[in-house]
C-alpha cells in the first residue's frame, strides 16, 4: 500500500497534456484576432474610423472605404431576417402545435438537411434558379408598376440585394426554426390548458402564451439568425451582383463585406489594398462576434427565466 506517486505522475502528465491542447485552442483564437489586427494596421492608420463611412473603393488611387459593403451586408441580412423569422416561427408553431406527432421527426430531419447544404450549392441554385424567377416573376413586374418607389427602382438585371436577402433567408431558416421550436417547447402545458379551458381558440391560446413566454427566446433566435446571415459568403457573392455602391433600391446589385473579400483578395496588389480588405474582415469579425454574444446572452437569460418557472 505504501507505493508513492507512480500513478500520480501519470495523472499529472495527462492533465497537463490535455491542458496543453486546451491552451493551443485558446492560443489559436488569440492568434486569429492578433493576425487580423496586425494586417489591417496600414489601412487603419491611413483611413482611421472614416473607413467605415467612406464610399469610395478605388484600387488605382489606393482610396478605400467600407460603406457600400457594410451597407450591403446589413441590408441583405436584415432583409433575410425579416423574411425568415415570420416563416420560421410560423412553421415552428405549426410543427409543435398543429402537426400530427409522426410529422415531427421527418420535419426535423429535413430542417437539418437544409442546414447541411454547402453555401456554394445554395449560390449555384441562386444564380440559375432563384434569380431568374425573382427577376421575371417579381422584380420586373413590380418595377414596371411601382418603379417610382426608390426601393423598387430599376433597371432590373437579376442579381440584386433582394436576391441575396431571399437566398440568405432560405439559408438561415433551419437555425431560427430549431431554436424557435425549442423555445415553444418550454411553455408549460398547464398554461396552455388553462387558456383553452377558459374557452379560447387555439390561436388565441397561442397568441397569449407565446406573447408571455416566448418573445425573448424568439428574439434571441432572430439575433442568432442575423449573426449567421452577416457572415455568409459564397451564396451572397453569387447572387448579389457585386457592385460596390450603396443604393437604396432592393432590385439593384449591391455588395457585402464577405463578398468583396472573396472576390478581390487574390487580386489585391499593394499593401493598402490588401490591408483594407483585411480591415473589412476585422469589421465583419467584430460585428458577428457582437451579434453572437448578444444572442447568447438573451438566450441564457431566457433559459434562466424559464427555469425559475416564470
Amino acid at each position: 500500500m505504501a507505493r508513492k506517486t507512480g500513478g500520480n505522475i501519470k495523472d499529472l502528465l495527462f492533465e497537463r497534456t490535455t491542458g496543453a491542447f486546451a491552451f493551443l485552442v485558446l492560443f489559436l483564437a488569440a492568434l486569429l484576432f492578433a493576425v487580423l489586427l496586425r494586417e489591417s494596421m496600414p489601412a487603419l492608420r491611413k483611413f482611421g474610423a472614416a473607413f467605415l463611412v467612406t464610399g469610395t473603393w478605388d484600387p488605382v488611387l489606393d482610396q478605400f472605404g467600407a460603406l457600400p459593403f457594410i451597407y450591403g451586408t446589413l441590408v441583405s441580412s436584415f432583409l433575410a431576417v425579416l423574411i425568415a423569422v415570420p416563416l420560421s416561427v410560423g412553421a415552428a408553431i405549426f410543427i409543435n402545435e398543429f402537426a400530427p406527432p409522426w410529422m415531427k421527426t421527418p420535419v426535423s430531419f429535413l430542417a437539418e438537411l437544409l442546414a447541411a447544404i454547402p453555401s456554394v450549392i445554395y449560390g449555384l441554385w441562386g444564380i440559375f434558379v432563384l434569380v431568374p424567377v425573382l427577376r421575371d416573376w417579381f422584380m420586373k413586374p413590380v418595377t414596371k408598376y411601382l418603379g417610382w418607389i426608390p426601393l423598387f427602382k430599376g433597371p432590373v438585371y437579376g442579381p440584386s440585394m433582394l436576391a441575396a436577402g431571399v437566398l440568405l433567408a432560405i439559408m438561415i431558416v433551419p437555425f431560427i426554426l430549431s431554436v424557435s421550436r425549442e423555445v415553444l417547447a418550454t411553455v408549460p402545458q398547464r398554461q396552455k390548458e388553462a387558456v383553452l379551458s377558459l374557452g379560447g381558440t387555439r390561436w388565441e391560446m397561442l397568441r397569449i402564451v407565446i406573447g408571455q413566454h416566448c418573445i425573448p427566446g424568439i428574439f434571441g433566435a432572430t439575433i442568432l439568425g442575423l449573426g449567421r446571415a452577416l457572415g455568409e459568403t459564397m451564396a451572397v457573392t453569387m447572387v448579389i451582383g457585386n457592385r460596390p455602391e450603396a443604393i437604396l433600391s432592393l432590385f439593384q446589385p449591391g455588395y457585402s463585406m464577405a463578398a468583396v473579400i472573396a472576390n478581390e483578395f487574390t487580386e489585391a496588389v499593394g499593401d493598402v489594398y490588401l490591408s483594407s480588405l483585411v480591415l473589412i474582415g476585422l469589421v465583419l469579425f467584430t460585428m458577428t462576434l457582437a451579434v453572437n454574444l448578444a444572442a447568447k446572452w438573451i438566450l441564457t437569460k431566457m433559459v434562466a427565466r424559464a427555469s425559475r418557472g416564470i
Binding site: M1, A2, R3, K4, T5, G6, G7, N8
Partner: protein, 253 residues
C-alpha cells in the same frame, strides 16, 4: 479477532460544514458491519472515507486516522489507487459500465490494473468472480451481452462481481439494495453472508431489518457522531443509548 480497520477520532468537513465528528470504530476481519442512521446523518460520507472516494471532492477535509492493517490510509505514503484495489465499493444505483459486455465489465478492473494477465487468467478470474457473486449460472451463456441489458438485481450482482475481480480484502457497500425489488434484495443479502467468509464487509443501510438480518456488528450514526456500536443482537433488543432506542422504535427518521 484481528481488526482490519481501526478508525480513530475521524472528523470531516465539506468546506465549513462539519459532517463527521470524532468517530472511533473497529471493524473486525471477515465480519459484516452495518452502518445505519437517519437520512443525512453522514453514514455514506463515513463509508466513502474508508476508500478515499472523497479525494475527488474539492473542499473536503479530514482529521483523525483510519488505519488499515496498522497504516493510516490518509498518510502521504499511501497511493489511493492501490488502496482502492484492497478496499472495493459497490454503489446504491447499480452502475455497470455502459457499452461494455458482462465479461468486459468484470474484466476491466483486471485489465486496467497494469498487471498484464494472460487472456486465460482473466477469463478464469472473471468466472470465479461471477460465481462468487452468484451470477455465473444466469450469465454464463450470455457473457457478451451488454452489461446494462441485465435486470436491476443482476446488474448489482454484476457490480459486486466487478468489485470482487480485483481481489480486494474489504468490500464497502453503500445501500446496495435500496434500488432493488425484494427478491433481488434477498438474493444479495444471502450473498453478503456467503462473502463474509472470505471478505470483510461494511454495509450502509437505512433498513433496520436488513441490518439485523445480515450483520455481526451494527454502528448507529446520528448527525455525524457514532452513538453506539455493538453486536446486532444487542443493539436491536437492548440498546445502551436512549437515542439508539428512539431510532429503532421509529421515533424519528
Amino acid at each position: 479477532m484481528e481488526n482490519v480497520f481501526e478508525i480513530r477520532d475521524l472528523s470531516s468537513w465539506f468546506g465549513e460544514n462539519q459532517v463527521l465528528k470524532m468517530i472511533r470504530m473497529d471493524i473486525a476481519k471477515n465480519s459484516v458491519t452495518s452502518v445505519m442512521g437517519p437520512s443525512g446523518c453522514g453514514k455514506s460520507t463515513f463509508i466513502r472515507c474508508l476508500n478515499r472516494m472523497h479525494d475527488m471532492t474539492p473542499g473536503f477535509r479530514i482529521e483523525g486516522e483510519i488505519l488499515l492493517d496498522g497504516t493510516n490510509i490518509y498518510s502521504e505514503k499511501v497511493d489511493p489507487v492501490y488502496l482502492r484495489r484492497r478496499v472495493g465499493m459497490v454503489f446504491q444505483q447499480p452502475n455497470p459500465f455502459p457499452r461494455m459486455t458482462v465479461f468486459e465489465n468484470v474484466a476491466v478492473g483486471l485489465k486496467l490494473n497494469g498487471r498484464n494477465l494472460s487472456r486465460a487468467d482473466i477469463a478464469e478470474k472473471v468466472e470465479r468472480s461471477l460465481v462468487m457473486a452468484a451470477l455465473w449460472n444466469e450469465v454464463k451463456d450470455h457473457l457478451s451481452r451488454s452489461g446494462v441489458s441485465l435486470s436491476g438485481g443482476q446488474q448489482q450482482r454484476l457490480c459486486i462481481a466487478r468489485a470482487l475481480a480485483v481481489e480486494p480484502e474489504v468490500l464497502l457497500m453503500d445501500e446496495p439494495c435500496s434500488a432493488l425489488d425484494p427478491m433481488s434484495t434477498a438474493k444479495i443479502e444471502e450473498l453478503i453472508e456467503d462473502l463474509s467468509e472470505k471478505y470483510t464487509i461494511a454495509v450502509v443501510t437505512h433498513n433496520m431489518q436488513q441490518a439485523a438480518r445480515i450483520s455481526d456488528q451494527v454502528a448507529f450514526i446520528l448527525m455525524g457522531e457514532l452513538i453506539e456500536m455493538d453486536k446486532s443482537g444487542k443493539i436491536f433488543t437492548n440498546p445502551s443509548d436512549k437515542r439508539t432506542e428512539e431510532y429503532i422504535t421509529g421515533r424519528f427518521g
